[in-house]
């Protein structure tokens, strides 16, 4: 059945089960599991080499699996070649066909599907309107800016009404301002079409701002997949805590069961599964916004060595006893009189912190 026979494609459910993929001696995906609900936008976030792009390429059919199962709406896709999957993909490097104009690029997938000319024209017009590039229909890729090229790539991927939209770091090559603008456009279009989407990125701000759920990956596995706010506030593992957002690693001691002593304060341990019995030194992971300026009597003293103005917030770098530098984010008006070299005290205001082996 042609993809375009249905006017409004029903959003697809995507399931990856026990996917394993190895390149030589390197395990790219190890027992990887992911379920994406219809119409959901999932961001796969992780450092370089964590396997996020491999996962995306496996879904697209551009990479084979060593073992495991990939289902779209309950149908096994593992053996399907890439050109029969009806998945729209946007690449990091634009990937527009240089010999074709903007409209020819959008038309390509429709011609391949032998859609008749009048219908093709209608779809091209719709997609050009969707990405606000109708006036560039006869331009060639080299005549467009990076942001415009990526919007054309998005329109081209959407023109075939894909079962799943796959975005492989689509904003990495763009400058900061354009990146924010295109990110918002992607989200608007994704919501308006209700298309199941996977967005691969190594930029946490990008992932947090665009996704319904964020999957944090490390060493070929999903460390945690949850709503952005949960990932940030309740990371399940020290890796997630340190990779997502900023965290100070402060030497600590395990106190009574389930509690840790850090900066002379006793605080509940967030990751209760941490092995408390091994007696090894630990570090507490404390976010800069979980620290607050305090009076000398109740806080830890230190010397301000860095002061960075970030608008409503100011980031201070404070050196404490032992030479450790701790970053703290405070309201700018609170520290307007604080200068580099001043001594101030601070305390932890979080109810619980994550710990890891030091």
């Amino acid at each position: 059945m042609s993809t375009l026979e249905t006017v409004q494609r029903v959003s697809s459910k995507l399931e990856l089960r026990n996917i394993y993929r190895k390149f030589g001696q390197v395990v790219a995906l190890d027992d990887f599991n992911l379920t994406v609900e219809p119409g959901e936008l999932i961001a796969l976030l992780g450092p370089s080499g964590c396997g996020k792009t491999t996962a995306l390429r496996i879904i697209a059919g551009l990479e084979r699996v060593d073992s495991g199962r990939l289902d779209v709406n309950g149908i096994d896709y593992v053996a399907k070649p890439a050109n029969q999957r009806d998945m729209g993909m946007v690449f990091q490097s634009y990937s527009l066909f240089p010999n074709m104009t903007v409209s020819e690029n959008i038309e390509y997938g429709l011609r391949v599907r032998k859609i008749d000319s009048s219908k093709r024209k209608k779809i091209i017009y719709e997609k050009l309107e969707l990405v606000a590039l109708a006036q560039k229909s006869n331009s060639y890729p080299h005549q467009l800016s990076g942001g415009q090229q990526q919007r054309v790539a998005l329109a081209r991927a959407l023109a075939i009404e894909p079962t799943v939209l796959l975005l492989d770091e689509p904003l990495s090559a763009l400058d900061a301002q354009v990146r924010a603008q295109i990110r918002e456009e992607i989200r608007r279009i994704q919501l308006s079409l209700g298309i199941t989407t996977i967005f691969v990125t190594h930029d946490q701000e990008e992932a947090m701002s665009i996704a319904d759920r964020v999957g944090v990956m490390s060493h070929g596995k999903l460390e945690q997949i949850d709503q952005p706010i949960t990932i940030y506030n309740n990371p399940l593992t020290p890796f997630v805590a340190s990779f997502v957002g900023e965290a100070n690693r402060i030497p600590a001691e395990l106190a009574e069961p389930g509690y840790v002593k850090v900066l002379e304060q006793t605080i509940r341990v967030a990751n209760q599964s941490f092995d408390h019995s091994h007696g090894l030194p630990v570090s507490a992971l404390v976010r800069p916004e979980s620290l607050q300026i305090a009076s000398e009597s109740e806080g830890t003293p230190g010397q301000v060595v860095i002061k960075s103005f970030l608008g409503p917030l100011t980031k201070l770098g404070i050196t404490i006893e032992g030479g450790l530098m701790v970053h703290i984010n405070v309201a700018s008006k609170e520290v307007s009189s604080v200068d580099i070299g001043n001594r101030i005290s601070f305390k932890i205001v979080a109810e619980e912190v994550m710990v890891e082996s030091a």
Binding site: N83, R85, G88, F91, F97, N99, T101, Y108, V112, N138
Partner: protein, 264 residues
């Protein structure tokens, strides 16, 4: 970019020198080729003599036919090979690089005699065996041109984009890869065509008659006619190059106007 006065003088002198070296012999040869009877006055008499010679048209047509066939065979063999070497058979590239240099290393005599026996039976002892030889001698140039052209585009991503949009391999090659390296293909075609059209040694060794072997015999009869012949050959080659380039540009324009129709 702005150049200092001394650089401008150097560039101008170098350009003038190059123009003199290339154009002076051509202008002189052209002037001689239009000399009248006994070398006096100017007329078309040498060109008239040339086209009236026995075998002029037939040998020219034979050479053109063989050159076209060699050019096409070269592209049919080398475009898919070069594409595969860039996509999925990358580790074979050094070996193919080496093989493609061999025609420059192997002496033409060894190549002519040795390769003749391995030609397909259907073309052995016909002038069409020359097509295969022409492909071999053009191989180092055509392969290098295509290889450079493919290296200049993000082939892997283009192929993956095309495949993810639903295209088969053949569609991908014909509609995405070939147009993206059209410059390289035109260059490879022209190199193959020009080398085939001017090939003398192998043709002579194998006792076939083409335009280059015919010119050697014809040129011995009339010195001014021989000069007219060389000017004719040069101008002919340049005209063919212009025709090929014009054809490529026209195809592009036709494609653009088609899309303008679609959008309108």
């Amino acid at each position: 970019m702005r150049f200092s006065p001394s650089k401008i003088v150097t560039i101008t002198l170098a350009t003038l020198l190059a123009v003199l070296i290339f154009l002076l012999p051509l202008v002189a040869a052209s002037e001689y080729s239009f000399r009248g009877a006994g070398g006096k006055g100017h007329s078309f008499i040498n060109y008239q003599w040339l086209v009236q010679q026995d075998g002029f048209a037939s040998h020219l047509l034979t050479s053109l036919q063989l050159a076209v066939l060699a050019g096409l065979l070269n592209l049919i063999l080398m475009v898919p090979t070069a594409v595969l070497l860039h996509i999925s058979l990358k580790r074979w590239r050094p070996i193919v690089d080496f093989i493609c240099i061999l025609p420059l290393i192997i002496p033409v005599v060894s190549l002519a005699i040795g390769a003749q026996v391995s030609m397909p039976k259907i073309v052995q002892n016909t002038q069409y065996e020359l097509v295969f030889f022409f492909v071999i001698i053009a191989l180092p140039f055509t392969y290098r041109t295509l290889d450079t052209s493919l290296s200049s585009i993000d082939l892997k991503t283009l192929v993956e984009a095309s495949r993810s949009l639903g295209a088969h391999w053949i569609t991908t090659i014909v509609r995405v890869i070939v147009p993206s390296i059209k410059g390289g293909i035109t260059g490879a075609l022209f190199l193959s065509f020009a080398l085939s059209l001017g090939e003398f040694t192998i043709t002579s060794l194998l006792h076939w008659d083409t335009f280059p072997t015919w010119t050697v015999v014809a040129a011995q009869q009339n010195i001014l006619g021989a000069i007219a012949l060389s000017v004719f050959s040069f101008v002919g080659a340049v005209l063919l190059m212009i025709i090929i380039s014009t054809f490529a540009v026209r195809k592009r324009s036709a494609s653009i106007s088609h899309i303008e129709e679609v959008i309108a």
